[in-house]
């Protein structure tokens, strides 16, 4: 194996690593101005993104491809157990992860130049992004879990990087404790699977899944893995940390967590569970205690994940209904969205994966974008409560419109990407027939329920008049805020929000290029296996 073909595929990762190192180098040299650091970060992310898009063969960008066609979507040689493996769906996820990092770094460029902790922020951000990219190429359970940790550990620190803020530190503590517990559960699950299959390689596990000797061990192993990974995905009841963390973390970090890192959990679900879920009607896990022959591993896992999905979306929505704080409302909504995404792996067909992946893509734009707006308007005198947004849409038409658009997209209103993704996801559920249609019904009813709290925010933003107090405070805060361009948001943030908004509408109107690419990738993923 020559050096080029070994390093070539990892150009994006190397770019990010280089960016990280450069930032820490600048820190050491005392060059800590936010502009420089953000330029480095944005450049690294953009280059990585271009490279990934090139590998995906995205139009003229394909000249940037560093992967040869034979390296993508090819099954490894029989009996070999590679640690990593390139799939086009993985590349799609890499692109999504990089997009979320791009939005956050772009927005952060608007911070004051003497922002304390900036090098740590950018460095850890790039490091976490690097971990995310690794998740997307994993093909070994241990590699996967360690890659997730490469994301998690910088994330804990990112949440708490503003060391003087009690709320951030409390959030970091909660994040860490629940994260550590989940890590233990995941690894324990992996160890049980290792015991059952004698390997941690996902290809081999998939190949052996039907001939395993320790049925209960397998089920327990998958159970632990579900619980461990559910932490990242914020499935109910593994979700409780997420709200406090999204709330306590700096909003830009919340954007990254909600928009970016929770998606690695979903891809991990894809990797770990797609193989078993597709094992329909293959006797795998021994006698059922209820008679009727052997337990089918596939349907069993499918039902478990389906129940989790429905519980998650419902509880998340109900929790969000009467929430009074904006960030916590967004956090709860984020939880319920995770339920939708889980539908994809529950069904496990290429259309369903397409829908889920598109939903993930949409969520990066919608939730990431929304948190970026929230982060930006803090400087404009908008407090944490939803009621602090009174009259916001009228006072700041453009920002208001962008935020309203993100909320409408979250609610699944047509002409937005949020609608298209749900449409495809639920279409796939209906198309899969069987009991999956009930997932679509549950999902759709939930999205109807969710409209209530999004509409409430819109109501506050557009229909309520700001009281004199809020107006005065807002004016004072706006006056004392550092003079930033783009109406006080700063240009970088404005560009990030604008990019998200344009993509929301653009893909909502003409989704074909994006959906087509994702579907192609998902088909390979399903047919070729992990």
């Amino acid at each position: 194996m020559d050096f080029t073909s070994f390093v070539g595929p990892f150009v994006p990762e190397i770019l990010l690593l280089g960016g990280t190192l450069l930032i820490f180098l600048l820190d050491v040299l005392g060059l800590r101005r936010n502009e420089w650091l953000s330029t480095v970060a944005v450049t690294a992310v953009v280059l990585a993104l271009l490279s990934v898009l090139g590998d995906l063969g995205f139009g003229p960008l394909s000249v940037l491809a560093t992967l040869s066609p034979g390296q993508i979507d090819t099954l490894p040689a029989f009996g070999s157990a590679p640690l990593y493996h390139f799939t086009s769906l993985g590349l799609v996820f890499q692109a999504i992860f990089l997009l979320s990092a791009l939005l956050v770094t772009l927005a952060s460029a608007s911070r004051p130049s003497d922002e304390p902790g900036a090098p740590i922020f950018y460095g850890l951000l790039l490091l976490a992004t690097l971990g995310m990219l690794l998740v997307a190429v994993a093909s070994d359970l241990i590699f996967l879990l360690l890659a997730i940790e490469v994301v998690s550990i910088p994330s804990y620190l990112l949440v708490g990087y503003r060391r003087r803020e009690t709320r951030s530190m409390e959030a970091a503590m909660k994040f860490f404790i629940i994260g550590a517990l989940s890590t233990v559960l995941s690894f324990y699950g992996a160890s049980l699977l290792f015991g059952a299959y004698g390997t941690t390689n996902l290809f081999l596990i998939q190949a052996d899944a039907s001939t395993v000797g320790f049925p209960v061990l397998v089920l327990l192993g998958y159970g632990f893995l579900v619980a461990g990974l559910a932490f990242k995905v914020t499935l109910v009841p593994f979700h409780a940390w997420a709200v406090d963390v999204y709330d306590g973390a700096p909003s830009d970090v919340s954007a990254f967590l909600a928009g970016g890192t929770k998606k690695i959990g979903l891809f991990a679900f894809f990797l770990v569970f797609l193989g078993p879920v597709l094992l329909v009607n293959t006797a795998a896990a021994g006698q059922s205690p209820f008679g009727g022959g052997a337990v089918d591993l596939g349907p069993t896992l499918s039902i478990t994940l389906g129940v989790l999905a429905v519980v998650t979306m419902t509880v998340g929505n109900v929790l969000a209904l009467l929430q009074k704080e904006m960030k916590r409302m967004l956090a709860y909504s984020s939880i319920s969205q995770a339920g939708y995404m889980l539908i994809g792996i529950t069904i496990g067909t290429a259309p369903a994966l397409t829908g889920a992946t598109l939903q993930i893509f949409a969520h990066v734009l919608m939730k990431g974008g929304a948190f970026l707006v929230v982060a930006g308007v803090g400087a404009l005198g908008i407090g944490p409560l939803i009621d602090d947004w009174k009259g916001f849409g009228v006072r700041r038409p453009l920002t208001g419109a962008a935020f309203a658009l993100m909320l409408l997209s979250l609610a699944g209103v047509p002409l937005t990407v949020g609608f298209v993704s749900k449409f495809i996801l639920f279409s796939a559920a209906v198309q899969a027939e069987g009991w999956f249609i009930w997932l679509a019904v549950a999902g759709l009813l939930n999205s109807a329920l969710s409209v209530f709290y999004y509409a409430r925010v819109l109501k506050v933003m557009y229909f309520d008049r700001p009281g004199p107090l809020e107006t005065a405070e807002g004016t004072a805060a706006a006056a004392s805020a550092p003079a930033l361009g783009a109406g006080g948001l700063g240009y970088g943030r404005a560009v990030a929000i604008g990019l998200a908004a344009v993509l929301i509408v653009g893909v909502g109107l003409y989704p074909q290029p994006v959906v087509g690419a994702i579907q192609m990738a998902a088909q390979h993923f399903v047919s070729a296996g992990v």
Partner: protein
Amino acid sequence: MTALPVAWFLALSGALLAVGIFGLLTRRNFILILIAVEIAMNATILNFVYFAAFATSGTGLSGQAIAVVLIGFAATEVAVGLAIVLGLNRLKGSINVAQANELKE
């Protein structure tokens, strides 16, 4: 050499895990929670080492290698945890996790 029966061994590692989780749930002291996590982690590491004896395929990562990696990883995790403990202690003057409940509902 007669291998330890699987069930027995699983009972051991399960007990270790349970102890760790129990500690995590009942302790309010951050440091003790960290220790509880490590105990639970050790159950995992023990599992890998034990199951390595059964792994016949011989491809991919071996159980022993995983165990070593995990020991290193656990150390990293503890380091990060301690950093957070320090930060929390400096701000709140306490490492009781139950007292950090400003964020709720």
